[in-house]
Symmetry: C2
Amino acid sequence: MPAHAVFRAEDTQFDVAIDPLIETLRAVLPGEGLIVHEAGRRAYECDGLSTYKQLPLLVAVPETIEQVQATVRACSEAGVPVVTRGSGTSLSGGALPHPQGLLLAMGKFNRIHDVDAERRIARIDPGVRNLAISEAAAPYGLYYAPDPSSQIACSIGGNVGENAGGVHCLKYGLTVHNVLALKVVTMDGDITTIGSEALDSPGLDLLALMHGSEGMLGVIVEITVKLLPAPLTKQVLMASFDNVEAGGHAVAGIVADGIIPGGLEMMDGAAIQAAEDFVHAGYDTQAAAILICELDGSEAEVADQMQAVENCLTAHGASAIHVAADNAEQARFWAGRKAAFPAVGRISPDYYCMDGTIPRKQLAYVLRRISELSAAHKLETVNVFHAGDGNLHPLILFDGNQSDQLDAAEALGSDILQLCVEVGGTVTGEHGVGVEKINEMCVQFETAEIEQFHAIKAAFDDQALLNPGKAIPTLNRCAEFGRMHVHNGELPHPEIERL
Amino acid sequence: MPAHAVFRAEDTQFDVAIDPLIETLRAVLPGEGLIVHEAGRRAYECDGLSTYKQLPLLVAVPETIEQVQATVRACSEAGVPVVTRGSGTSLSGGALPHPQGLLLAMGKFNRIHDVDAERRIARIDPGVRNLAISEAAAPYGLYYAPDPSSQIACSIGGNVGENAGGVHCLKYGLTVHNVLALKVVTMDGDITTIGSEALDSPGLDLLALMHGSEGMLGVIVEITVKLLPAPLTKQVLMASFDNVEAGGHAVAGIVADGIIPGGLEMMDGAAIQAAEDFVHAGYDTQAAAILICELDGSEAEVADQMQAVENCLTAHGASAIHVAADNAEQARFWAGRKAAFPAVGRISPDYYCMDGTIPRKQLAYVLRRISELSAAHKLETVNVFHAGDGNLHPLILFDGNQSDQLDAAEALGSDILQLCVEVGGTVTGEHGVGVEKINEMCVQFETAEIEQFHAIKAAFDDQALLNPGKAIPTLNRCAEFGRMHVHNGELPHPEIERL
């Protein structure tokens, strides 16, 4: 486990009187609603970032909004941290339990209340699986656009908490662009409604603020999402390149030509081979890189765009372009991409998945630098990523049984994320900060910006009980990490350090 | 002037020692940078909502970011309110001066720093006019999408502050969807950068929070906007209807069919006649309502959509459909729509422009109810609005010289906004709250929600000096307005009342 990112003592100083809290919660959460015994809590000790494990103090499994309110109110009064969890697929430890906190498991909030085809909205519980929304909307010719690779399992509440993306978010936006309203339980147990069906709401825009807030501002108990009409037609093509940089230039070129594909993904040679061996997607295993590009819309629009994309790819040196012949081949092209992470898991004992974003025009440069950094750290890196929106997922291969390799992987990962920030990008695109990238936040943000985040967090949760130790580093942590931007020798404000 | 919306005593209790402040500011703002004499301040006494007038205590006209920082810092130390102003075209009094405050006029921040065609972004000063951005981008085949009717005059900083919309925002989004990053001076004089070129940023989403915050969270000193490629082609059609409700149904039908037009506007009989008399747009003056619909994209896409829209309009009872023959006729159709407000100004001594939004499916019902409410209040209402996104602009005609008519217009306006909230809409779509709709915010929001807004405002501006008395009502004001949602007899929190 990377040593620098575990909970710090200052994040865990909660003085919990557990017996009266259990007594209060037993009255609120009958039967299996409160889990106290260790074997039951063990099931919640980690999320998708399984290198981090932590037993929660207690687990609550509420079934009603009133139970959520009463549970949160009891924790607030007892001064006990609350970590909300959906399906637990977070890749950054967002749902990692707090050792002195209650884990609020929202799995029983799994109802789809309403699919309204005319208004094109669905009103759903936070524990509903992402894919289940599209399945419920399909009879009306509608679907929910954001599609993280984990969509079969991940919950929509977690999607909001992490502002999840996916293969199609280049064209159809992130979770924040596809959610209209939230019902939220605040840390004092009140319910507020945030957002509306209108294009814009008066008052401060709290809807976007909630997205990507990683469970630190409130507990989401209901979500209203936009539904889109299924595209009339689509085409998927695979373009081969003799080197990774040419592929990077082609991506920037397509978007610069005014085309926003439904999806535009890139895989390098190692990723192609791993995916091909795993799912037999029909990829060009001779290529140094492939682009998979989906175009959707009306027949005429897709035909127009297909011509323009083929011209652009050829101009940027594509050695071959293969258009999927039918739905089955389209599905195979995407299956290979979506299975790339487990495919890489088959060829290396361990891998460390990064999630930086960069401006598209920097793609070729950054891919070359990643290759140089990998060589310097003597570790192989596999690249498979959302090229269209510049969201990289370099997978660093290592063997966790060799402790020097874990250190090297961490160091290489940190170098890659700093490279992303240097070229004008960010340390996370869609996986969130969680515990994993909390130190890199010190690289991304200035002192004043981190102070601002803490002030807003306090405006929702003045005891700092919601998911403490995640997403926003203390200035103290940044100073220790040695990456704080200290202006004119000014020290971080002491009042924030104590948070 | 509507009596209920002027500054309340509790909003104006600032104890200002003006002489030392002037001395400090003279050192910061040389020459004409500080305006103290009354004649000079008079030029800033109102914005586009000209029924409200207020002389500011002082006017600052900074030329550099450092001057903004020093000015804000001086006001912060002196406990003096700061109201930021761009071009002053706000229709809700957002830039109305505070009687004991400094008016921060950003007109000298009018440089376009950078237009980057490959990255499709422009980096600009907040005082740059909206239309000037598209003019600077035109040589590259690009433009800035949001186009409020005031675009020739309004500034981009004000567009962010009000989250401005426009005719094309149905398809291309509001200001918030077209801005990538902001440089902001906080009330303590620090600079923070909010947002980035990446699709998503780590940390809390403050970029959306700044949009529509009406100058209450910080002073924007630089803006990075997205640029879009100019559409390859476009078509504009005018459809006539024998009654307003049929037009409303047709709007809902077009969007329900999966078509998002570039623009979809509606005008009723009185608006048609007024605009026709004024600019000779070529409108069908026999119609009870017309829809103006613009479709843009590739030739093939536009042809496809045009067929679908014509089918839908016919199915919903359009009595005539006229497609503009050339660019000149397209421009005339839009000129009539954009000139509709001044055109109505020619037929009535005064008018009161409302800005509610409603779900599209409620259009026909709400238009009928507005007509009934108008009859009940014995005032004529003219409707011209962004039909596609359900953003109504009922113009209530009255004669301000007859005081009972002003009261009646206010009462009718309030009834219309409450009707919007009742059907699931909002009290403002794109004009902002300002001072004009601050009481209606009490109808829109619950106590807990308004408290949350105040807490977030305090996280940015703990002395509540930025644009006080605007946008977010005190709970005390709501209680007096008689529209506070009081739950279980609970009184509003006293600590908020004092804000």
